[in-house]
Amino acid sequence: MIVLGSTSEVAQAFVEKALQEGEKFERIYLFTSSRETTERFARHIDVKFLQQSEVIEIDLMKEIDYNKFDHVSSNVLFCAAGYLGDGTEEGLYDNRNTEKIININYSKLVPVMNFFAQKFESRRSGTIIGLSSVAGDRGRQSNFIYGSAKAAFTAYLSGLRNYLFDKKVHVLTVKPGFMATKMTEGLPLNPKLTATPKQAADCIYKAFKKQKNVAYVLPVWGIIMMIIRNIPEFIFKKLKL
């Protein structure tokens, strides 16, 4: 398995879930911007599952040397790379914030995804799982920079799914709603709408096994977003969402 964004608690929970369910990987490639945290995880899965892994540093804000991961190949790619940044209301006119959000969630991420997608295409098998967000379903005043990058990422995944379909590669788009993770610690989230990384991992694993195309982590988000998508624009623009 190849994991982009290995410090993500959801990614780690997914890896554990897959190993618990008895999935076998020759090696797990853990891409990360934080070696220390990821090495802890690598040791953890070695102790717990006798699973070999390799930690590979990657910084989506910098030039990427693809030679460093030429040897990386697997039949599952899990992409949880992402960056929430400051919400629009406080971070809109901060260009560094905006760039970082767009780079990490989309513009710098997609070429890396493509690099691996090509390997999947030539193997003619495998699954690519991308963590997008419900925020990408419709731009809202509170975080549309992040939302727009995720919307682009969602569109990319859907196109990729379409493109890879007859090449026997499956693409799964996951849209978690609120999640209780480092990213959201301390934010006032409604517990009924908030999934733990473990819940998310269970759900993603199920969707992976069933070859779903799009999965909301908590089903209620599917309904909420259907409503939000369908509010007519002349009303939507007046709402404080």
């Binding site: 995880f41 040791r43 102790v47 610690e185």
Partner: protein, 439 residues
Amino acid sequence: MKPNFTQKVTNWGNFPVVEKEMRSEDSFKKIKEFVLSHNEVIARGNGRCYGDASLGETIFSTKKLNKFISFDRLNGIIECESGVLLSDVLEISVPQGYFLYVTPGTKFISVGGAIASEVHGKNHHAEGCFSEYVTEFKLMTEDGNIIICSREENSDKFWATIGGMGLTGIILTVKFKLKNIQSAYIRQESIKAENLDEIFRLFEESENWTYTVAWIDCLQKGKNLGRSILMRGEHAFQHELPQNLAKQPLRLKKKLQPTVPFYFPGFVLNALTVKIFNLLYYKKQTKKEVKSFIDYETFFYPLDAITDWNKIYGKSGFIQYQMVIPKEAGKEGMKQILETIAASGNGSFLAVLKLFGKNNPEAYNSFPFEGYTLALDFKVNSKLKKLVDKLDDIVQQFGGRIYLTKDSMSRSSLTNYLKNIQSSKFVSLQHKRIINNNS
């Protein structure tokens, strides 16, 4: 949305509830920053202590310190971060033929919490407390430095931290030994006792068993006072097991996990329901003595089978009252305690009696000493404080003391027994309550 780390926090008894800042970090560097930037900090594991021990002005949750570091499968030595739960340890150790030397009645506690409370199990008389099997741990002290503590290195901090209730610092990682087992099953005998005399006799007769514990029906009076069931057990050898279990002796079948979905309304638990529960529990076993093989989960963690069972006590919460009374005086003390409870009508749903063995004098902050210990759950209501007062009187009179990890309202003369823990940085609500109230 700016993060606001203040939140409602409460431990297993849902009493007390506080609104305080709670944070969790996973890198030691960030933990250091956190410790240095706050005046008062207390570590919190999985909040399975019942009262206010892991609550404070700012709470450091070890939830994110949840990784394993190493497992020497040959010698059964495991190292992990302090937030790893005993359940996580068992998940990997049991299939490899290893079990915890000491485990409390729930596996949902953290390894850090096990040291800070110096937990005991059903084998205290035979195998002591958790720390006996801890070889070393890393501790973050007030200045944010990390020290290695063992019997040889920083041994003063090692012993102060064991049973030190988080008041010496934050335990970051722990290395400890596991015991060999041949199966995941326990050979159990359960024996009914008609009254206190009989149960005390059974305990003494069972001295050679590794695990012993008794459930008491606390509403009985007179000649039935102390009516109970003693359970004693040993890890089963593979060759002893019935055929159907012997094939895969280290694997358990997955069970369904019922959940208590919401807080039960207050009226559900009253003297009558408790009486019925205890009666059923006692009557379920019709024979005087039953021998069986049961899986370790059922034997050690019967309550874990129901997720969130603490909600049964309703929103006002409950306390657990656990005391130890020295052995010589123990029988008389227990008798008076049970009489007081029966007379109060404030029945306890759950009452567990055990005989502690000798304590390790080096682990001076450890709660257990040789004697009888009784743990009782009481729903919080207006009459409870009075009952606790009366029970405290008896415990005091017989030279006993109260288990800090379950305390939230006992008098401080029974709980103020920790040594070498003074720190202006690591402070819990419990400790403040105890030192401010020298009754």
